[in-house]
Every structure is written in C-alpha cells, then in structure tokens.
C-alpha cells in the first residue's frame, strides 16, 4: 500500500511550485513580470495617464506624436497614450475573465466525460460536437448580437463556445492518462473515483491545459478586437486595445501609432502569458518531475 502511494506523483502544491518554476525558468519570470506590470498599469491608469481618455479635441485629430501627445491623437483628438494605458483594463479583464469562465466549464465537463465514459461521455461529446459545429466567430457574433451590446455579453458568448476546446483536450488527455498503470493501481486499491479524478488524473492532464489557457487568453483578446470593431462588445467611448486596433486601421498611413501601439500591447501581453504558461507547464508536469525524483 505504502509503495503505491509513494510511487504515485504528488499533487502539486500550487504556490510553491509556481514560485519554483518562475525562479528556475527565466522566460517564465519575464512573462510574469510583464503581466504584473500590465496589471499595475491597468490598475494605476488614472494616475499614470497624462490625459483623460475621453477628452476630445476636434481641431487636433489624427495628429502624430508630439511633446503634448506622446503617441499622437486619435480620430476624435483624444490622447492615444492615455487611451492605450486605459485600454489595458478592458483587454486584460476580458482576456482573463472569459478564459477563466471557458476553462472552468470546459475542464469540468472534459474530466467527467473522460473519466466516466459510457453515456455521460457520449452525451457531453455530442453537445461539444454540436457547439463545435458553429464557426467560433459566427457563434460569438450571433450570440453577442442576440444578447445586445456590452462587454459582459461578449464574455458570456466567448465562454459559451470557448469551453469546447478545453473539454476536448481534457477528455483526450484523460483517456490517455487513465490507462497509466498507477491510475489502474489506484483504482484497484479502492480509492474513491472522485479522489482519483482530482488528485491523480487532473494533475496529469494539466500540462496541455495550461498551454491552452495561455493561448486562450491571447485568443480572447484577439476575438475582442474583432467583435469590438463590429460594434458589439465595448461601447464607445471606452478604450480597449482591440477597438483602437481596428479603428486605427483606417488611419494606418497617417497615424501608424494608432494601430501599432495597441497591436504591440496585445502581442506583448499574449507573449507574456505564453511564456508564463511554459514555465508553469514545466513545473507542474509530474512525469518530468518524477523523472528526477522517484522515491522509494
């Protein structure tokens, strides 16, 4: 009995491992720092931004960078630098929020489907399939249009389709993991299914899921830009990177920063999440850990 327990990988103890991963993995550290910086920027926006993001100056529209306006002005004369700073709020909130919701839904359903098997699996997979039949953008557009304008509706719409990816990956991984000897052993030894699922199966499915989470945050931010352009989602005058990116498009030749600044911000944040995800994956992958530390 004791042998089985000690050979089985331990459940990750969260914070300790994150810290360890971050310290060991320099890129992950960079990623985390960048994310925290952006979060700080978003939180401290009212103090950092030189102007209000809503202050219009119709006689100074679409002007290039200058001493007064570091990034120039947008199509209503508002300071682009300030709007970029404030834009972090919306984009980050949306990215993290909708991903969290999607992941929660998807992982839960995927776990159940993969582990239980049988008709439960069949039902969940059919529902997943039905949702996956809709092209994501169209689904989000249609749902957002039906729910009405407003960012919260886009979060909901995103989660309503986003969970499917997580469910499939989770289930796929569970199907593989549950065949592993120590899971069989755990089951044979009479551990309760729920305990097995949470304590043993879940940790082993985390690796690709973490990658998926970080990618989804980026995807969410990108989706927000597309949806915001079409008039759904964030309503003016709120600034969001996605919105600025799309509006700035038209003025690419005259005020390139209008589009480039939010584009860069989006790219940076998404890269940061991805680096962080890499580090976490390395830390949480039990087999890689166990490769160094099988105990007797």
């Amino acid at each position: 009995m004791t042998d089985l327990v000690t050979i089985a990988p331990l459940r990750p103890s969260g914070a300790m491992l994150v810290l360890r991963a971050v310290v060991r993995h320099r890129l992950a550290a960079c990623g985390l720092i960048v994310i925290l910086l952006f979060c700080a920027m978003a939180a401290l926006a009212p103090w950092i931004a030189p102007y209000s993001p809503y202050e219009q100056d119709l006689y100074a529209v679409l002007s290039g960078p200058s001493a007064a306006h570091w990034f120039g002005t947008d199509n209503l004369g508002r300071d682009l630098f300030s709007r970029t700073i404030y834009g972090a709020r919306v984009s980050l909130l949306f990215g993290i929020g909708s991903t969290a919701l999607s992941a929660a839904l998807g992982i839960a359903l995927g776990l159940v489907a993969g582990f239980r098997g049988g008709w439960v699996d069949g039902l969940i997979m059919r529902v997943t399939d039905a949702f996956l039949c809709f092209p994501p953008l169209i689904f989000i557009l249609a749902t957002s249009a039906a729910l009405g304008p407003g960012l919260h509706n886009v979060v909901l719409s995103f989660a309503l389709f986003g969970w499917t990816g997580f469910a499939r990956i989770t289930r796929g991984q569970v199907l593989v993991v549950r065949e592993l000897p120590y899971i069989e052993a755990a089951r044979a030894s009479g551990l309760a299914p729920r305990r097995i699922m949470l304590a043993h199966v879940l940790p082993n499915t985390l690796a690709p899921l973490i990658v998926a989470v970080t990618i989804t945050v980026g995807l969410a931010i990108l989706v927000e830009s597309g949806v915001s352009f079409l008039g759904l989602g964030v309503q003016p005058p709120t600034a969001s990177w996605g919105k600025e990116l799309r509006v700035g498009f038209t003025y690419l030749e005259t005020v390139p920063l209008f589009s480039i600044a939010p584009g860069l911000m989006i790219t940076l944040v998404v890269i940061a999440f991805n680096f962080l995800g890499d580090g976490l994956r390395d830390a949480l992958d039990p087999r890689l850990k166990a490769a160094g530390k099988v105990r007797k």
Binding site: L58, P236, P237
Partner: protein
C-alpha cells in the same frame, strides 16, 4: 436616403441616381440640340488617345444589374452600361440625355421626344416602342419591380411616332422629370427583357458607353468599350469612349484600396478623408475635392417624448459646434449646412444661415424648458467607423451643456427597426443623392414617407411638400421648396450638420479631367467628357 454619407457608393466622385426637378413648359431649356449646350465643349490641349483598361475599386459588388430589381448596391457602375433619359447639371437641374425634349402639354400630359440614332448593346433600337414596353413592364406587378410605385400617377403611354411618346398622368406630376432621371429612367433593351427577364439581372443590355464583359460576384466587374455609343456620334467625337474597358474590383477595406492605388494596381479611387494626408504629397497622384449632394443630419422624434418641445430641439441644435465637427470627423472636407438642400442645389434657400454654435443659449433654453439639472435622451447611430466617430463627438458636445445622449451604435438592420418603432429621441439622419426635391422631404417629413413612420408631423411642411409635387412652373416650384426649408428650419425640425464633399484620387496618367467645369456642370459634364490614358496606356 436615410443613412450617413459614409456609404462609399461612388467611384469617380459622382452620383448615379439623379432626380431632376421639373422643367418649365417652355421647351427651350429642354431642347436637346446637343452641340448647343454650354457643357458641350471639347477643346482639349492634348488630343485624347484610345487605349487601356481603366481600373478602379469599390466597396461592394453591384448585386443585380437591372435597376428595377432589388438589390442594386453600386449605382456608379450601373451608369457605365445603363444610361438615363435625363442627367443633372451643376445645380442638380435636369438635362436631357437620351431624351431630346420634354414638354408639358398640360399639367397631366407630357410629350416626350427621344434622341435618334441610339442603340442598345444587343443591337435593338432605342425607340418609343422600347420605352413604352419598359415602362409598362415596370408597372406590371409580375415584374417585381420595386420602382413600380414611383410610376403610380401614370395612366397611359402612347406611341405617337418612332421617336415620340405621350404620357398621361392622373394628377399634375411635377416630379415626373425627376423620376425618369432616376432608377425607372435607365433605358433597358425591351428585346432583352422580353427574351429573358431573369437573365437580365446578370446580363444587362443598356445604351451606355461600356458593355458588360465579365461579372464575378463579390470580386470584380469587367466592362468593354461600346463601339456604337450614340453620344460619340452625336457629339462629333467618334473615338469616345477612349478606354478599351473598365475593371471594377470589389475591395471592402479602405486601407487596402489605398494600398492598391499606391501599388499602381488601380488608376482612380474615392478616398476616405483621412487618406488625403497620405496622398497629397504623392507625385504620381492628383487628389480632387468635389461637393456631393448628400446631407448629414440628426433627426428628432418630434411626436413622442421630450423633443415635442421646440425649445429643447433648439437647445440641441445650438449646442453643436458644426465647424468643429467637420474639422474633427470630416477633416475639414464638408460644407456647413443650414438646412436640408445642399448649397449648390437649386432648391437651397439662400437666406438661411447655418445654426450658430451657442452653448450658453442651449443652457438657457434647457433651463426655460425645466431641465436645468440636465436632460437624458435616447437614440441610435449607425455603427460604421465614421458613424461611431460622429456619434461620440456629438455626445461629447451635448454633454457639455448637460444633455446626456444615450446613443446605441447599431448595425443597419437594428437601426432600421428602432426607426420604425419610433424608439428614439435623437438619432442619425441624412440623405444621399439629393436631386429631385420631392424625394427627401417626402421620405423624411411626409406621413407616407419611408423614413418617417410618424416621428415628424409638421402640417405646414406637409402642405408645402404636397404643393411642390404638383407645381409645374419651375420658378414657383423653387419658391415652394425655399419656403419648405424655411418652415423646417424655423421649427428646428431636424439638426442639419453638413453637406458632403468627396475626395477622388487619380493617377497622373489619367487625362481629360477638367475640374473647374466638373464643378460647374457636375453630372452632365462627367458623362459627356470621358477620360483617357496618356499615350493610351494604363
């Protein structure tokens, strides 16, 4: 029509569906002796050269090519292969084109003489029989022509001889010339219609300078030179039109259209106003600025809600700094509007001045009307990029005087529903292609108007609109519309913002464009003075 002038439906800066005004009974002005017309001058410094395919780009594909079938999404391209019985001049007054003469024998009867020597692309003759067939086809319910209602007063058409028709109406129909200068007036080959009506939607047979060579839906239209164009012979310029053909690409994104122009892949383009800064110093391109007959406005719901009080409408109108709006949203490329008819339109009342920017007055009026602590109103605006910009700017201005305009940015479908349901206090408005003075006022202010639905009920205005439809005398009709403007203006029925302008860019090797005369004669100059490539090469 009721949408913001952001609809990029013109390629070369010009309007398609022209609604001319009524002609005087004296046919002198309407006599189409072509070469006597003031615009019929072709003294070019460089001789025109034949050759080359002219390439341009539009935002949307044309859709159906029978002007009476719906939807048609690109009226400019339509004019290349279908010509109208009448065009318009610099003041948007009608000019005979395929017609030679139009005479009112009495208020309910018109005698029309057609141009001779005009042939359709399939070789059939443009004659009285063809026109009669076309008009009766439009009126036939089986044809499903959306334009049928526009010919409602028509009682009968009689062929008098090969080139003459007599039209009989059941009322005095002042807007007749305007109607035949618009969609129903595009001459279609009766033979082709008779042979296969459905095919006509994608294989049109008109009289225009170009024939349809190839149509790739949502991708491009390719047109070929018409070697038998009647105007070439009639004007004494047998080499017209000079291009071998026209290629119209469908490119939805304005930045990509510009990229194509820069890369030399297209020869001319209607610009987004913000693109002017990028092109004004480009040595290979010339940019022209032209007035357009569109008006941009805000509409009040004057029959339900707070804007029944004229003081509040006044407050809103005076709270708007129109100059700043033009500077900011149109980058200076628009004309301050006083009322609904553009400044160069013959129905524009010259005594009206644009509403002054006076926020102090607005606040005073709000106070008087009992809203000293601010006013909240609802509304919508079209959610295109330009629409959002304008809506935000206006919202900001109104907030400065204490009016909170809760504007929803909606796609066209949702906006149309709100408009029909009268579910707004203040919303987007305007009209595109203002030519015949009856269409816009009817649409916006008459109970039967397609864009009213009861939101406006100004009895004086309604009476004037109905009078204007019946008044055949040109000067009297003009006075009626001037009076109509004044009535609407004094009542602050709507807040008119600006009259549009367009920016068109041409590569320097495109010749023949006389900007001063274009400004003077507009539509008729444009179609009578085709362009050419320097040395005949693109």
């Amino acid at each position: 029509m009721d949408s913001n002038p952001d609809r990029r439906e013109f390629v070369l800066g010009f309007v398609a569906a022209t609604f001319g005004a009524m002609l005087a009974p004296q046919s002198a002005a309407a006599n189409g002796a072509l070469r006597d017309q003031p615009w019929a001058v072709w003294d070019y410094k460089d001789k025109p050269v034949r050759g080359g395919y002219f390439r341009t780009a539009v935002e949307r594909y044309i859709g159906k090519m029978n002007p009476n079938h719906w939807p048609v999404l690109d009226w400019i391209s339509m004019n290349y292969f279908h010509e109208r019985l009448m065009l318009t001049d610099g003041e948007y007054k009608p000019v005979p084109w395929l017609l030679e003469e139009l005479k009112f024998e009495d208020p309910q009867t018109v005698l029309m003489r057609l141009r001779e020597g005009v042939e359709f692309h399939d070789g059939s003759k443009f004659n009285a029989a063809a026109v009669k067939y076309q008009m009766e086809w439009i009126r036939d319910p089986k044809s499903n022509a959306w334009t049928a209602a526009w010919l409602a007063p028509l009682v009968s058409i009689d062929v008098v001889d090969e080139r003459t028709l007599r039209w009989k109406f059941n009322v005095a129909w002042a807007a007749f010339a305007g109607v035949i200068a618009s969609a129903p007036g595009f001459a279609m080959s009766a033979a082709a219609l008779q042979a296969d009506v459905e095919k006509y939607d994608s294989a049109p047979r008109g009289t225009g300078p170009y024939l349809l060579e190839e149509a790739s839906p949502d991708n491009f239209l390719k047109l070929r030179r018409n070697p038998n164009w009647w105007f070439a012979k009639a004007s004494g310029n047998p080499e017209m039109p000079y291009f071998d053909g026209i290629h119209i690409s469908v490119i939805p994104d304005p930045a990509v259209r510009l990229a194509n122009l820069r890369a030399g892949k297209i020869d001319a383009l209607t610009l987004d106003k913000s693109q002017y800064a990028a092109l004004k110093d480009d040595p290979s391109v010339t940019v022209y600025r032209l007035p357009a007959s569109h008006v941009n406005a805000l509409r009040f719901n004057t029959t339900k809600g707070v804007f029944q009080d004229v003081r509040l409408r006044k407050a809103v109108s005076h709270a708007l700094d129109r100059k700043a709006l033009i500077a900011g949203t149109q980058l200076g490329f628009a004309r301050l509007a006083s009322c609904m008819f553009p400044g160069d339109h013959w129905c524009h009342n010259p005594e009206l001045a644009p509403v002054a920017y006076d926020p102090a007055l607005s606040k005073k009026l709000l106070d008087e009307a009992g809203h000293a602590n601010g006013l909240t109103v609802r509304g919508y605006y079209i959610n295109t990029t330009m629409g959002q910009t304008i809506a935000e700017a206006v919202k900001n201005m109104l907030a400065k005087v204490g009016i909170d305009w809760q504007v929803d940015l909606l796609p066209a479908a949702a906006a149309a529903t709100r408009m029909q349901a009268l579910d707004y206090d203040l919303a987007s408005s305007g009209w595109l292609f203002i030519h015949d003075p009856d269409l816009m006022p009817t649409g916006l202010y008459h109970p039967n108007g397609g864009f009213n639905f009861g939101r406006s009920k100004n009895d004086a205005a309604i009476a004037l609109i109905e009078a204007g439809r019946r008044e055949i005398d040109f000067d009297k009709r003009q006075k009626i519309y001037w009076q109509l403007e004044k009535v609407l203006y004094d009542a602050y029925e709507d807040a008119w913002l600006w009259w549009e302008e367009t920016l068109a860019a041409y590569r320097k090797n495109v010749m023949g464009r006389d900007h001063d005369n274009l400004l003077k004669y507009k539509d008729v100059w444009f179609w009578s003075h085709p362009l050419w490539f320097k040395d005949g090469k693109a």
